[in-house]
Symmetry: C2
Subunit: 156 residues, 2 copies
DNA sequence: CTTGCTGCAAATTCTTTGCACTCAC
DNA sequence: GTGAGTGCAAAGAATTTGCAGCAAG
């Protein structure tokens, strides 16, 4: 896996060290098929190596983000992480009803992104972009966005 | 102010009540020139009415969101709230370096939004949309994105 | 051996909740 | 009056930090 090598190299260059825990985090990220929370990552690691602490997972994720190997974005109050190298740069569609996530290539966004650059001088970080909305399935079922309007139901 | 009337009406329709605290929250939102956190709102209310509790601010914000008078989005781990009626529907550019926020009209996004609708059946909630990136100022100064890579500095 | 890294526990931050009392209607 | 709303305090959830011992280079 190329990104383990990249990780190792970058650690060396910075005078940091490769450890079993860091390998485990990276490996667990590889195995994940969709963005995972720190907690989920911790649990999947715990399956084979029960002594890795959650705080170590957080520290490693921070490190991996710094090295631009992993991206994280906020979803419903928790951060979900994902290997960048795995799917290439892309953005996410996050359904506000069911919470499902779809990764989409950035192609469709290019016009939008360059419009923002031209008109506002704003440089979009597309890998960090999360689009809130309703997925097809939920739309068809007449679902409504969840956060934070679920607390009580319209009495009408 | 039209939205206070709207608030009042909607409360009545639901059998809920207008209170001083709710008026204060709404009024503080009006006075805010940019999206505010619950904490900031609480402080600005406290200036004139020190006994309003932070939890009441949260509860009122939840209510206002439900009535679609206020929108909230996540920025750097905290939620920032904003009156919808004040500026009309729009999206936000959030600079990952300085944290500044710019509201932009949704026009530029239309192509993108309809592309997502067509290709993925995804209905974007544009008022909830926060675009991460770098503002012009920070870009010119060669700044780099902040969260969560600020924890240590590149030794190179 | 040196110093970065880890596990553990405690601390922080933002937000929510339980409850008795109060006030809008 | 009655039940919705409030303040207060405590609980929660996600994440961070301090520290002493461990281990990678």
């Amino acid at each position: 896996m190329a990104c383990e090598a990249a990780f190792r190299d970058e650690l060396r260059r910075r005078g940091l060290r490769m450890t079993l825990q860091r390998e485990l985090v990276l490996s667990a990220l590889h195995q994940a098929s969709e963005p995972v929370s720190a907690e989920e990552l911790h649990q999947s690691i715990a399956a084979q190596s029960p002594n890795v602490d959650l705080s170590t997972v957080y520290r490693t994720l921070g490190l991996l983000q710094e090295l631009r190997l992993v991206s994280g974005y906020d979803s419903a109050g928790e951060t979900r992480y994902e290997l960048l190298s795995l799917h290439g740069p892309h953005l996410h569609l996050l359904c506000q009803s069911c919470g499902c996530i779809e990764g989409v290539p950035p192609d469709d966004a290019h016009g939008f992104v360059s419009a923002l650059a031209e008109r506002f001088g704003f440089e979009v970080q597309i890998e960090q972009l999360v689009i809130p909305g309703l997925c097809q399935r939920c739309r068809e079922r007449g679902k409504v966005a969840r956060p934070p309007w679920v607390r009580f139901v319209d009495p009408a």
